[in-house]
């Protein structure tokens, strides 16, 4: 499992793991039913204390992203996780707050931001559409 830990931007390690696992699940790099590395192995790989991994896996289980099977390990949940609406809004809301603050510093207003979001979404849409077009052929 490809996870990296960054110590400079102040995000707690367990939170970084949670975020990255969620991203891996959401982007399909971790398939439903796939097993996550055991706590000991991941701790050795990342050079962090196992209790951090325990905490991260515990939070992921509470959020429904993974589930623990007794004696077998931790597996990605079969259905797409139903993260609570509130939780999802909270995550995105944080990003938007940071974006708006940064924009204010750089003297953009909300309308400029909205326009740029639409532009970039269009560009990304074309890029993701290309490979699918190629696949269809």
């Amino acid at each position: 499992m490809d996870i990296t830990i960054n110590l400079t931007d102040g995000v707690p390690i367990y939170r970084q793991i949670i975020n990255q696992v969620k991203y891996l699940v959401a982007s399909g790099l971790l398939q439903p039913g796939e097993e996550l590395p055991p706590i000991r192995t991941l701790a050795l790989q990342l050079k962090v204390t196992p209790n951090t991994i325990v905490k991260a896996y515990g939070d992921l289980e509470n959020a429904g992203v993974v589930h623990k099977r007794r004696g077998s390990g931790t597996f990605v949940s079969e259905e797409r996780p139903q993260l609570a609406i509130r939780e999802r809004r909270r995550v995105i809301g944080q990003r938007i707050d940071a974006l708006l603050a940064e924009a204010h510093q750089l003297s953009f207003d909300a309308d400029d931001i909205l326009r740029m979001v639409r532009e970039r979404q269009a560009a990304m849409g074309e890029a993701t559409a290309e490979p699918t077009r190629k696949e269809k052929k």
């Binding site: 830990i5 110590l7 400079t8 931007d9 102040g10 995000v11 707690p12 390690i13 367990y14 706590i39 000991r40 701790a43 050795l44 990342l46 050079k47 962090v48 204390t49 196992p50 209790n51 951090t52 905490k55 940071a98 603050a101 940064e102 510093q105």
Partner: protein, 301 residues
């Protein structure tokens, strides 16, 4: 029920007039990694030496596994593994003799684990300790300390003076010790990224006193770092409530603060500034704020 492995209560110690520890209280619970941070000479080694009975507690009490390590050295030391800061090992022994000698004192010695570690570190068993480099000595001492699967592993500055490869080996050993049920690790380090990665609980010792202590995430959550921008430039650092350390110049300042967020925001806007960005402080920033020199500037405030 979480078991207390180490219980230090109100420990004080001076060496010839200079206070090394002043009323230090410290608890280590089983199954966790406890990191001790502090500047050089803050008192970390002194505290660890008390746990092993190398220093006798003159005031206050020290209990390891519920027992005083001076009163019952065999009971404590048989269940403890220790790697000292100076890596003191008998110079004349070879690595193999060191293993055999340590094995005789600990019935729980795992010979296959020791052999595996020797192979991983590529240590020549026939080499004498005095012929080993600093890193290899640390590795040899580490094997002697962990191969008997101690319930408590005490490491004093395990990474000092070592290259990245050996440091990884040491971190591995810590992880493995804790991952096996119920074992405890206490280590002191002035490398804060290590402490941040490896610790469940952190304690910061500053000038012989405990400056902060608690679960790492709680400690991290209590301190925030904010970037501020003021309308008018300041020549000297602006005084802000709940701020512990501040640096910057002119209109832009970066502050480490803990405590009430409202009070902080109020104070910032009262000085004519706004918070540009705020996030949890890293351990290094907390350390520098609590134990660094800029503290003296805030003391006056």
């Amino acid at each position: 029920m979480v078991e207390t492995v180490v219980d230090v209560h109100d420990l004080s110690r001076s060496f010839g007039g200079k206070t090394a520890l002043d009323g230090v209280s410290f608890r280590a619970t089983a199954g966790h990694v406890h990191g001790l941070m502090g500047a050089n000479g803050a008192g970390k080694t002194t505290l660890l030496k008390h746990l092993l009975g190398l220093l006798r507690a003159t005031t206050g009490s020290v209990r390891v596994f519920g027992v005083d390590p001076v009163r019952d050295p065999v009971g404590v030391l048989a269940r403890t593994g220790y790697l000292s800061e100076e890596r003191e090992l008998p110079e004349w022994m070879s690595v193999d003799e060191l293993m055999r000698y340590s094995q005789a004192f600990h019935p729980g010695w795992d010979a296959s684990y020791a052999r595996e570690l020797l192979d991983t570190f590529a240590l020549d068993p026939a080499k004498k300790i005095k012929e080993l480099s600093k890193g290899m000595r640390a590795q040899a001492g580490l094997i002697a300390a962990v191969a008997h699967r101690p319930e408590l592993l005490i490491l004093d500055e395990p990474s000092s003076g070592l290259d990245a490869v050996v440091r990884r080996d040491i971190l591995d050993a810590i992880v493995r010790t804790v991952a096996d049920d119920g074992r405890t690790v206490i280590f002191s380090s002035h490398l804060l990224d290590e402490v941040e990665r490896m610790s469940d609980h952190v304690t910061l010792i500053h000038q012989g006193r405990v400056a902060l202590s608690g679960v790492l995430d709680d400690v991290r959550g209590a301190y925030r770092r904010s970037r501020l921008r003021f309308l008018d430039p300041f020549d000297r650092p602006p005084v802000i409530d709940t701020a512990l350390a501040i640096e910057g110049s002119g209109r832009s300042w970066s502050v480490i603060h803990s405590g009430s967020l409202d009070q902080f925001r109020h104070s910032v806007s009262a000085r004519g500034g706004e918070i540009v960005e705020t996030r949890d402080a890293t351990l290094e920033e907390i350390f520098l704020a609590r134990a660094g020199r800029s503290r003296s500037q805030m003391e006056a405030a």
